[in-house]
Subunit: 236 residues, 2 copies
């Protein structure tokens, strides 16, 4: 059974890294065994990032290794196939995707998750689970060989979704305007997942969790608002 | 002589489209003759965009045609070579670059500007003048064959540059953090050009114009602040 926990943001305002999501991660991992395999490639310093995440997951009794510490391709693939879960951390989505293509890990992760290995994605890790990274907020600091991503869900997500600020004097595009531009040339729905929000997918059941809800954008249709607890099974 | 006028944003807060930049455009075009060739590809509706810009440039006596209205490649190239100026409008930088590659217009515009055709770029048109589009703020709604751009200046610009908001509770990366990520994997300087700001380049003279100034980022160096009127010749 395909299982995903997609977390909009790593850090909530005034809280420490992953603090707002740790209980949901703990619940999501119940009944699973083995090592969580962390994917640190969205950040520059992989050792540092892994140390940070490992220390936090230890608090819920989860043992974590990082894919960057496994030197052989065949062993990386095996570790992912046998993982308790794959945990893809946030950072820069372009760097994450470019590195995964270079290491031939896109098919490895996709096949493992489709075979039942649970997937936890935070921020850039949420973009990665979608058909493409075309709804990332990140700066395109490196050129990946494609914008196609893991395609684990048939819709796109915009993590860190931000409502327009009526008091802003900044004239750059609002997030809603950017998603409208996406829909000028793409047709898949886009779920704007606000900070604090999470999406839990278990086979064909899609549940909005966490705080602050989400806004669903489709081409030529007014956006729809969904509140925490809403079922969005129609998206899969 | 290479001449560029790079305008951070098309619309200033509480003003109409191009109102804040029209005097600077008028001055920049003094002594030039012929038709301004507009490049509308950053937006979805090219006719509409051209009509809007044409009407505004008429106010300063400039006649404008749009490159999308010229059907043959050889005629597009000739129109650009003989233009009074090339004017690249804002919108989505990925769509702009992808379309220019598809129409084989990257070398045509680059060669014309290096041969002396003045270049006016707004927002996405500013990103386009740089070595790459890797410091755009836009959503990657389409996949261009490369992030390499016109390379008319040897540094990158971040248009619509925005200072961190000390009151924000949003935890997405600040603009400065995004530029820092750029410098984890790239070495060229990045000029954060605030809304209202413009950069005028005449051969080897680089002048910061307009309002609100700019912030210069380099790898492993504290950012430097520049005020309107500053000369930044050292960048070229």
């Amino acid at each position: 059974m395909k299982r995903l926990l997609l977390i909009s943001n790593g850090t909530n305002y005034s809280r420490s890294f992953l603090d707002h999501a740790l209980e949901a991660i703990d619940t999501f991992l119940q009944g699973t065994t083995g090592e969580v395999i962390f994917v640190p490639y969205a950040k520059h310093d992989w050792d540092d990032y892994h140390d940070k995440v490992r220390g936090i997951l230890e608090r819920i009794g989860a043992v974590t290794d990082s894919v960057h510490r496994i030197s052989k391709e065949v062993e990386r693939k095996s570790a992912i196939q046998n993982a308790r879960a794959v945990f893809v951390g946030g950072g820069n989505t372009f760097r994450l995707l470019e590195t995964l293509y270079r290491l031939n890990l896109i098919p490895a992760i996709r096949e493992a998750v489709l075979a039942g290995v649970p997937y936890i994605g935070v921020s850039a890790g949420v973009n990665l689970a979608c058909p493409t990274i075309k709804t990332t907020n990140d700066m395109p600091i490196v050129y990946p060989p494609s914008f196609d991503a893991l395609n684990l869900v048939p819709f796109n997500i915009n993590p860190h979704y931000l409502d327009p600020d009526p008091n802003s004097q900044h004239m750059g595009e609002t997030r809603a305007k950017r998603i409208e531009e996406f829909h000028e040339v793409n047709t898949v729905p886009v779920l704007g997942l606000r900070e604090g929000g999470m999406l839990k997918i278990e086979s064909t059941a899609v549940t909005l969790a966490g705080e602050n809800g989400a806004r669903l954008f489709r081409p030529n249709t007014p956006p729809e608002e969904y509140h925490p607890g809403a079922r969005l099974d129609f998206l899969v």
